[in-house]
């Protein structure tokens, strides 16, 4: 049965060093308060899988030395520019990068959701994305004739971590149309969700809300963290903190500036 955690740190206790951690793109609800708490705790050696891309979350975790391997399709701060710590880590060779493409990650999570060892995907053939992924295979489509097609092995994360608008006391989580979060939870061994607020009553008993609800059956722990995506947006609830992102980009351009950022916004528990 899912539990509503007494504190954010309690909720995150189930994310050990060295685990495979799945996180969503910024338009789906990134658990940024939880990310800062993990950095404060000194989490290490993560295999971070961002479905299908990441922005500040990956950049912070990489900069703070928490990431050993990153699998995703892109890391960028969008209109704020390149992700500085990600870029620096790649150029230094300090993380292992598994470059993917968005639909490949979606399909690989769906493979785990469906309990199959792989999923096929069109495209990719002739790309260096494929060439650099020895774990992806090309086979001849058995329903075709000389028709090569890529097979992607299932991704089964140890933990999925994201932020959503609300949950109820049974651990049901309303994710709305962000349905890759449902697939992520189905695919992951454990799912930890931070939410803006607790909903009174059972989300599954309201037929309109139920349509956008991840059942608590798939959820291990829920923690209430208001503005849990800050400084990233929670779409339809709040927007980017533009000034903060500008400050981040300015500070994170250097190692020393990034340490200052951590001191100011992460270790001091400010706005966490």
């Amino acid at each position: 049965m899912p539990t509503v955690a007494r504190s954010l740190d309690d909720a995150l206790a189930a994310i050990p060093d060295g685990c495979v951690l799945a996180v969503p793109r910024e338009s789906s609800g990134v658990a940024m308060a939880a990310t800062r708490a993990l950095i404060r705790r000194g989490i290490k050696r993560l295999t971070l899988v961002a479905l299908p891309t990441s922005s500040l979350q990956a950049d912070l975790l990489i900069g703070a030395g928490c990431v050993e391997t990153l699998e995703t399709s892109a890391v960028s701060l969008g209109e704020f520019g390149a992700a500085p710590r990600f870029t620096a880590a790649i150029l230094k060779g300090s993380i292992r990068m598994k470059d993917a493409t968005c639909p490949a990650l979606h399909a690989a999570f769906q493979a785990s959701e469906k309990g199959v060892p792989f999923m096929p995907l069109r495209g990719l053939i002739g790309s260096d994305v494929l060439k650099n992924r020895p774990d992806w295979k090309v086979v001849d489509n058995p329903f075709g004739d000389d028709d090569p097609i890529v097979l992607l092995p299932a991704i089964r994360p140890d933990v999925a971590l994201f932020h959503a608008p609300m949950a109820d006391h049974e651990g049901n989580v309303w994710v709305g149309r962000q349905r890759e979060l449902v697939t992520m939870a189905h695919a992951a061994e454990k799912t930890i969700v931070t939410v803006e607020t607790l909903h009174d009553g059972n989300l599954l008993e309201d037929k309109t809300l139920a349509a956008g609800t991840l059942p608590g059956f798939y959820v291990d722990t829920v923690a209430v963290v208001e503005r849990g995506c800050w400084p990233l947006p929670l779409p339809e609830y709040y927007a980017w903190d533009v000034e903060h992102l500008k400050e981040y980009v300015a500070l994170a351009a250097t190692d020393e500036g990034f340490e200052k950022y951590l001191d100011k916004y992460v270790h001091e528990r400010r706005a966490a």
Partner: protein
């Protein structure tokens, strides 16, 4: 763009008009994040078509119909329901290969871009992919990309229902010949020259004996962009709409 037509239209309007013509009569155009000129072109095509094509502006929940999560864009393309998409590249080469990953040895790169996003897939399954890269230089248009995020062409036995049809830059318009896997210079934008295009392009390309000047947008096209498209565009790209069209939301 040039001294000859200082007040007639802006560079962005010319590019959007050219792109709108490339879109043609289709059912659905999807535009990636942070792409105001392709967005302008797509909305212009829609204004001309009385609501057709559907225009999906990714990154704007209001301007996309997706309700099946992040995979729906790709599933939709896989179903053959996206007719036009836009891609760019840190590097683009003469075979239409695009690089969104890194420069140099991928194991020890000297520069890193964000990553391939969905290009390694969408380039194969969207019938009309329009390459859009305003910076036209030997740094961006190269003989051979360092890393192929997505190839411009494929062997005959590779399932491929899409690919590049054109490359538009701040200087000119190239079409792409899928069979020859080569670009062909179609027109040079007003105020630019063939010599300038040649010297700033890192790859070889075909060209007609006489290279035309890119046609200027018609009065009707400019009217649609400024009166119909600008207010729609401002919802997603307010700064761009203000700067280019002088449009300010009420």
């Amino acid at each position: 763009m040039n001294a000859a037509q200082p007040s007639a239209f802006r560079d962005e309007e010319l590019l959007a008009a050219v792109v709108a013509d490339l879109i043609g009569d289709v059912r659905h155009v999807a535009v990636g994040n942070a792409s105001p000129i392709p967005a302008t072109a797509s909305l212009l095509a829609r204004a001309r078509g009385n609501g057709r094509p559907y225009v999906s502006l990714l990154g704007s929940q209001k301007h996309t119909f997706w309700t099946d999560g992040g995979r729906e864009l790709f599933d939709c393309a896989g179903q053959g329901r996206i007719d036009v998409f836009f891609l760019s590249g840190g590097e683009i080469d003469g075979q239409g290969n695009i690089n969104l990953v890194s420069i140099g040895d991928p194991e020890k790169p000297t520069a890193r871009f964000p990553g391939s996003f969905g290009s390694s897939y969408l380039y194969f399954v969207v019938p009309k992919v329009i390459l859009f890269r305003t910076e036209h230089s030997k740094r961006t248009l190269v003989p051979k990309v360092s890393y192929i995020s997505a190839p411009g062409g494929s062997d005959d036995n590779v399932h491929r229902t899409g690919g590049p049809i054109a490359l538009i830059t701040n200087r000119c318009l190239f079409s792409f010949d899928a069979d020859a896997r080569r670009f062909r210079l179609e027109s040079v934008h007003p105020g630019h020259t063939l010599a300038e295009v040649i010297v700033n392009t890192g790859f070889e390309f075909d060209r007609p004996a006489d290279v035309p000047v890119t046609p200027s947008p018609s009065a009707e096209t400019l009217r649609l962009m400024r009166q119909v498209v600008a207010p729609e565009l401002a919802v997603v790209y307010p700064q761009f709409a203000a700067r280019v069209f002088g449009y300010k939301a009420a």
